[in-house]
Amino acid sequence: MAKQYETVIGLEVHVELATKTKIFCGCSTAFGGEANTHTCPVCTGMPGSLPVLNKQVVEYAIAVGLATNCDITQYCKFDRKNYFYPDNPQNYQISQLYLPICRNGGVEIETEEGTKTIGIHEIHMEEDAGKLIHDEWNDCSLVDYNRSGVPLIEIVSEPDMRSADEVIAYLEKLRLIIQYLGASDCKLQEGSMRADVNLSVREVGAEKFGTRTEMKNLNSFKAIARAIEGERERQIDLLEAGEEVLQETRRWDDTKECSYAMRSKEDAQDYRYFPEPDLVPIVISDEWLDQIRERQPEFRTEKMKRYKEEFEIPDYDIEIITGSKHLADIFEATTAICKQPKKVSNWLMVETMRLLKEKEMEPEDICFSPENLAKLIMMADKKEINSTVAKEVFEVMFANDTDPEKYVEEKGLKTVNDEGALRTTVEKVIADNPQSVEDYHNGKEKAIGFLVGQTMKAMQGKADPGMVNKLLKELLS
């Protein structure tokens, strides 16, 4: 009988924190600036410069630690990790090895077999590196240090996951917690959340772990799932062929759907960690911890419960809306303005979801403001625009947060509620379509639909179909 294998997976997740400034200097962390415009002597590693810790980084790290049930290390320090690479101008990265800020935590995930806890070994604070651009023509590399010194937390899990599904459930859980905290937007595609996968296989029932490999360059949930499948098979094939799995770092190529070795254990780095002399220890008092605890936001479970009590919207809608912090924020803010939770939920669940899917976007990418969505809902409610126009306006608003009132005004999309004008048009449509009128009188109810359509066309879509219908019936009777 063929051997049965079990996959053992642990994750190292890097999350870029949503601070305004870098971890050790007052440079901006804003995206999209021209190369090297957000740099200073500290984040380019100039001799004699000194780092000063951004307090917000510590607060975010503690908040994430508390939300993932970790013990907070109340006396904690930074360490130097030494390595040479041009994206790292100091020749060391300031990180934490000996006393990471959070330890011994865990989060619960839902699996097919029920609830399971994934342990968190530790969370530590560190700085990001710069970006290298390779110039193939001139055989040189160009370095942009705008990302150098951007604060990160690294969340190291225990090897508690057994499948790609569990890995994705764990990542989604982490992402949601961190988004709810406002500590990061956690976008895999843009690199504000990055996952390295440590994977080994062993025969079912074996006690010892197999040799593990570490996989990097995974920038979507789909890539992670494919990489896990691919690496599991590669390791099983090796074992079945009587060969050995080598402990190495591998890079996943998602277009080719295969991985290749980057570094093996033999040329593994020796990072020569030592305590960072330029930064003094951090002492986290009970009072400080309590303050942060008090500021913790309403997380998803509590939010779902509150929505159920407060709003009359379906459970399924609640699940989807609270599944993204940004979506939940839009829902609450819009509802607060227009007081129509059902309609807000409808716009989010139907049109918003349709456009997100069509444009391959995440809920976090939604750019329209609650104010504008509320305006649109209220205009439709007052029958100032009909539902077809509302959808058209929504698409424009979805694309660039256009003010629906202004747009409707400019494009002249307002429904004509002037009964006189409408009556004239309806009369003309009746006169122009004797066949349909006859059909209607012969009992073909459907014929009225055609006449409504013709009227709407003549009114350039700016009529209330209900009113047209009513008027037609009145004039035809």
């Binding site: 740099t39 380019t44 590399s141």
Partner: protein, 97 residues
Amino acid sequence: MANVISDETIEYVGILAKLELSDAEKEEAKSDMGRMLDYIDKLNELDTTGVEPMSHVFPVQNVFREDVVTNGDDSENMLKNAPAERDNMYEVPKTVE
């Protein structure tokens, strides 16, 4: 000299430091490192059982900055430190991992 640095060690340290050493330089480095380790052995003669390693000499803790942007674009000055510059970036020998 009590500490003898092997050829393998000097080779490995060279790789980590990204240094290419000639045979003569390797011999010199081996002897220098051996003497450094001898000096460290001297420190090891002291019994430090139960003594917490100290990383800072000053009794200072919790030095923070508020999360406020204080630095603007100074890339023109910053890039004066670059060995070579192109498109507002530092140009370095090609490095691919």
